[in-house]
Structures are given as structure tokens and as C-alpha cells.
Symmetry: C2
Subunit: 387 residues, 2 copies
Amino acid sequence: MQHEFFIPTHIYFGGGCLEKLGEIKLPGKKAMIVITPDAWIVDNGHLARLQRLLAKGGAESVVYNKVHPNPGKRQVEEAALLCRQENCDFVLGFGGGSSIDSAKSIALLAANGGDFWDYIATGSGAGKPIAQKPLPVIAVPTTAGTGTEADPWVVVTKEETNEKVGFGAPEMFPVVSFVDPELMVSVPPRLTAFQGFDALFHAMEGYIATVATPISDVFALRSISLLGQNLVRVVQNGADLQAREAVALASTCSGVVESLSNCTSNHSIAQAMGAYHDNLPHGAALLMIANEYFSSFVDVIPERYARMAQALTGDPTATADRLLPTLYEMEKACGVEALRMSDYGIGPEELEVFCTNALEIAGELFEIEPRPITRERVMEILQRSYR
Amino acid sequence: MQHEFFIPTHIYFGGGCLEKLGEIKLPGKKAMIVITPDAWIVDNGHLARLQRLLAKGGAESVVYNKVHPNPGKRQVEEAALLCRQENCDFVLGFGGGSSIDSAKSIALLAANGGDFWDYIATGSGAGKPIAQKPLPVIAVPTTAGTGTEADPWVVVTKEETNEKVGFGAPEMFPVVSFVDPELMVSVPPRLTAFQGFDALFHAMEGYIATVATPISDVFALRSISLLGQNLVRVVQNGADLQAREAVALASTCSGVVESLSNCTSNHSIAQAMGAYHDNLPHGAALLMIANEYFSSFVDVIPERYARMAQALTGDPTATADRLLPTLYEMEKACGVEALRMSDYGIGPEELEVFCTNALEIAGELFEIEPRPITRERVMEILQRSYR
């Protein structure tokens, strides 16, 4: 079997590791710091700290603080323009997936110019090759879920056409990431759960995908095991720094899985839901459909399900049929086992729209599953998951 | 706990993957191909194939074919000079650790000039900083053992002073490696065993080292498990391509362990033996002392020994005391359980010399062990291992 390993990002882990930002050789002299407008970033001193650490490394900085929860094409283009005008030579994303994905997108567009959708490879994107190397990106995640600190992917939305797409290229890995659990301590329980399950699904999807590799498998099982032991703990006590650290490591391991293997159509469907409902957190969308989705393959690849069950439970004798009940128990312990689409304003008449969108915008994820998921099965997953 | 992940090498795995060399974007226009003078490289068409694949990617090449089994300072300096004269802009190492370590050393010296020992950080080395980025290196291992395709290390010998040192810097990772088990099929059983146990000891040492990280642990256990299942198979039947592939993957995983964690004094001692006995294969030196060496810590870190035993046996209930007997059984099955130092011309009077050399040349590896290994204990290891 042929496969590849390529994770060029230098990743620092551990409580307080962000201080290393002031000690490393920075990839340039002027940074664009990319953040959301949330007041806590300024109020808690995070922005001043980033500026101080960059200055210590000899870099000045400008701030772009208009990132949305689901980063949009328009913001990316606005920020890339500012990045060029200000002659920034690298981009630092601080925050959740939205900030870091925006930083990666801005770095690409600032170096290459044009309309961001020129480069998008799916949907209405023009799939233009990336001619210029993107600006270097430093990633500082403050949530544990997306794995974007260890992958070349961004998820960006084109509002006009309801396209929420995943996109990436080998040049788009961050050059350096700081996975510092101290930055994650204040994430509230519900968001911690949404993000943690996102990380879990990255690992599980990457493990069942037909493009899984012997090395992605190792990271996937490690991530599943870390989350099985620590996610409930950290949702129940956000100040548990050891559990925060383990969940953060799991999220990064899952990012590696996304880089070496791939997400599957669980993500296509959840992203379709998010494309029409800006207020629906990505992890919540996944949780709404995951139990039904993962029931699709248990009889096709029972050994893989057994190994996931063993990792999740910590019991080396666990069999395939333990996986879904254990997942459900974890969801229950985190209080996210019965999320309702209707609570986010989703009506049953929208399910067909999600289905079409998932197949059109992220159809390639349907091609790497252990058993083909048909349009009928997507509808079944959505209908059985609808509450 | 703070730790880092950094493995920037793009690694291709699998039977036939070397063909990808003709498809990737090469890191330059003119390669120096670094090989040993062994006739099989030319006779079996390997050199012509490398030249053809490089030409396909638009690169011409010159050949340096004077690499020794234990690469020496003089050859590195001679080849680096040729590399500069020929204006090569990247270096391709094809062969065992000696060829690839030479390629990495040549790439450093061709870019920076001077005496190679200027840059060596230990022993009589001057420890000069690396001012210029080394030339890019492509690694094509034809043996499974050193892990050099996934680490920034070289082992080079200064003949005059009997210094066999490990040396490296983050800039010295290969940019691309091709781990193609088809290139390893003709390695004879005895060398396959020596190399495979080298890989196993990289994983075991990196797992017991106090600088082990949560990610190096994952790679170490995976490597130990792959070797436990496949090394005896491939020693007994070298044509078993599936087992070759698994052992090759293990070797690379162990290279990752060497990069993220470190070897321990098992390597210091074996390298001291090799420094005085050019004819002693590195893996054989390790095998001569390993059983005694690894008995040093079983009572200090029993959980880690148990986990290694579980990985090596495949039995999730194995306890710490299973590790050393299982290791010995594997050695026996491979016919390498009773290697004799005297067969390689080592006299008992040399043990003191090895001891001094190990502590002087690679003393830092004694500082990362679960229990301090004193000079007396090194002598004890050597004396009890002497046959």
C-alpha cells in the first residue's frame, strides 16, 4: 500500500508554551494578527501579550478583528487587501477555527491576489492553481476541536451561494502552532463539548475512511483514546488543566488525521446544515447526525469499529458493538445527546436542501467511505436525526 | 508538560513509491547522488533508475560513490568539495544509513564550507553554528533500521581520534524520503536482523528516555508492535514483501522517535565499540549489550516496560517482566542472541576504553535515563555482555 506522511508544522504543546512565540525565529518582520471582535481577547490581555511576544521577536503587527464565527469570503478578501496594503509578511491566527482558518485564507490571498473563490476547488470555485507561496501562518488555537493547527485545511463560506466548503493545499499548513491549554480554560462546557466531539469525529471519520494510512490510524486511535478518557472530565470541570491538555493534544492528533487521511460525509452533511444556519455550531451539527451516520458501517468494517471501541473505552476486549453505545454515553455525560435541529430554526422541509448541498459542495467525501452513502441514505440519516 | 512536534520531511511509503521521485517538484536542478562503491547499485540498475527519475523531474546529476560503511569525516569533506565544484543544488542519498547520513553531512558542509568537525557539537568538535541553510536532501533508504529518513541526525566518524558521534540540527531533516520496501528485498537475513533490532532499540530507548513525549510514545509503541509482529518473519523470509513493508514503516516510526525523543546510552556504548572496530555493524554492537542494558530500568518504570511488552507480544495483558524474555526470544528466532565481541576482534582489555569513550563522546545520552547509569554500571554492562 502506498501512502504519505507530511506534517511540516512545528507544533509546541503544553501549558504556557505560547511564551515560546517570543523566543523562536519569526517568519517575518510584520504580522497581521487575525482575531474575532470578542472583547475578552483585549480585556484578558491576550492581544497585548501577542503584540509583546511578537515585538520580542522583532516583529511589529497590525490587527484584523472582524472574523465571523463561520468565516466568510468577504472578510477574507477585505483582510487580505489590508495585509497587502500594510506589507505584512506573515499572519497570526489567534482563536478558534474561524480565526485560524481566516489567517490561512488571508495568507493565501494576500500572496496571490484576486477573488478568494478563484482558488476554491469545489462548487462554484474556479480551482485556479496557487502560483505564489502563501505568507507564513502562525496558529494559536484557543479551542480544542478543529485541528486546523495541524492541517492545511480551511472551512470558508460564500454567503451568496450557501457554499460552506473545505479547501486546502500542502502550502497552507501553518509554519508554527502553539497548542497551549491555558488559553482554553475559559471555554464554557457546552462549547468545550461541541469542539471535543468535532475532534472525535475527525479521528473516527479519518479512521473509517478508505484513504486512512498506517500513520493516520495511529494518530486517530490515540486521539479517540485521549478523548474517551478526558472529554467528559473537561466538560464537567473546565479548570482541569490536565484534561484540557489531553483534549488539546487529541484535537491536534485529529488534525494530523485530517491531513493524512480525510473527513467523510458526516462532515459534508454537517457543513451543509451550517451553510444555511450561521448560528449552528459546527460541532452541534455533527452531534445531531453522528450517531445515525456512524451506524452505517459497523457491519462493513467490524475490526475497525472494535479498535475504535477499545480506544474509546480503554477496554482492550471491547467489540465493535460497544462503539455506538459508548459514544452515546459520552454525549449524555456531556449533555449533548439530544440536540434538536428545530432549536436552531431548522424545519423538516430543509433536509432535502441539505442533502443536495452536501452532495454538490462536498461530494468527494462520499467517495472514500467503506460503503457508498447514497442520496437516499443521506436523507435517512437526516430524517432519523431530526428532532 | 511542554513538548514539541516537528517532522518536516515529506515521506512516501510503499512498494514502488520511488517512482514518485520522477513526479514531484525536485528541490533543484542538479543533484549529487551519494552511494557506496558496491557493485549491486550499478548492476541492478538502481543508479540508472535514479538518474532517469531525476532527469524526468528536470535535474541532472553527478555521482559520489566512495561512502564507507561507517561514514568518515574525510569522505564528507571530499564529497562536499566536489558538490561545490559541480554546483549541485541538492543531494540524494541512496543506500543504508551511511549513504544517507553522508548525504546529509555533505549537504551541510557544501552550503557552509570549512572542516566538518567545525560544526560537530561534542567531543573535539568546535560547535560552530550553522550559518547557511544546508542543501536540500532526498533520502532513499535501502535498509530498514537507522530511521535517518525521518530524523535530522547523522552518525559520522573522525578516524584520527576514534570519535563516532551523532550530530544534527533541525535544518538537517531530509526534505523528501522514499521508503520503498521493494528496495530492501535483497538485504540478507543477518543484516536485516541487525538493522531491524537497531530500529527496535531506537523505539525502546526513545520510549524509556525522560525526554519522551506523548507523540513520540505513540510512534515508539507502533514501531515496537510492528517489529514484534514482522521482524522474525522478514529475517526468516526476506521476500515477504508485506513484512518488509511493516519493518520499513517501523524503522521510519523509530526515526520519528529519535527526532522527538532521543536515543539513550545504549547507543553511546555501541557507538564507542564501533569507533574502534570499523568492521562491527552498528546493530550487532547494540545487540551485544542490549539485554543487559535494558535490564537497568525495569524496576524504575514498570508501567513503561509493561506497555513495551504489550506492544512487542501483541498481548494486552503482558506485564513488565515479559519484555526482556520476549526480546531474547526474538533475537533467538533471528539467530542473533549470542553475538560475540571476540568474533569481531574485541579483547576484554578494550572495555575500559569503550566506557571512557562512551561517556566522553556521547555523555549527554546518560542524562536522559530513568535512573543514572554510572561509569561502574557501564563497565558492568560491557563485562556481563562480553563473550
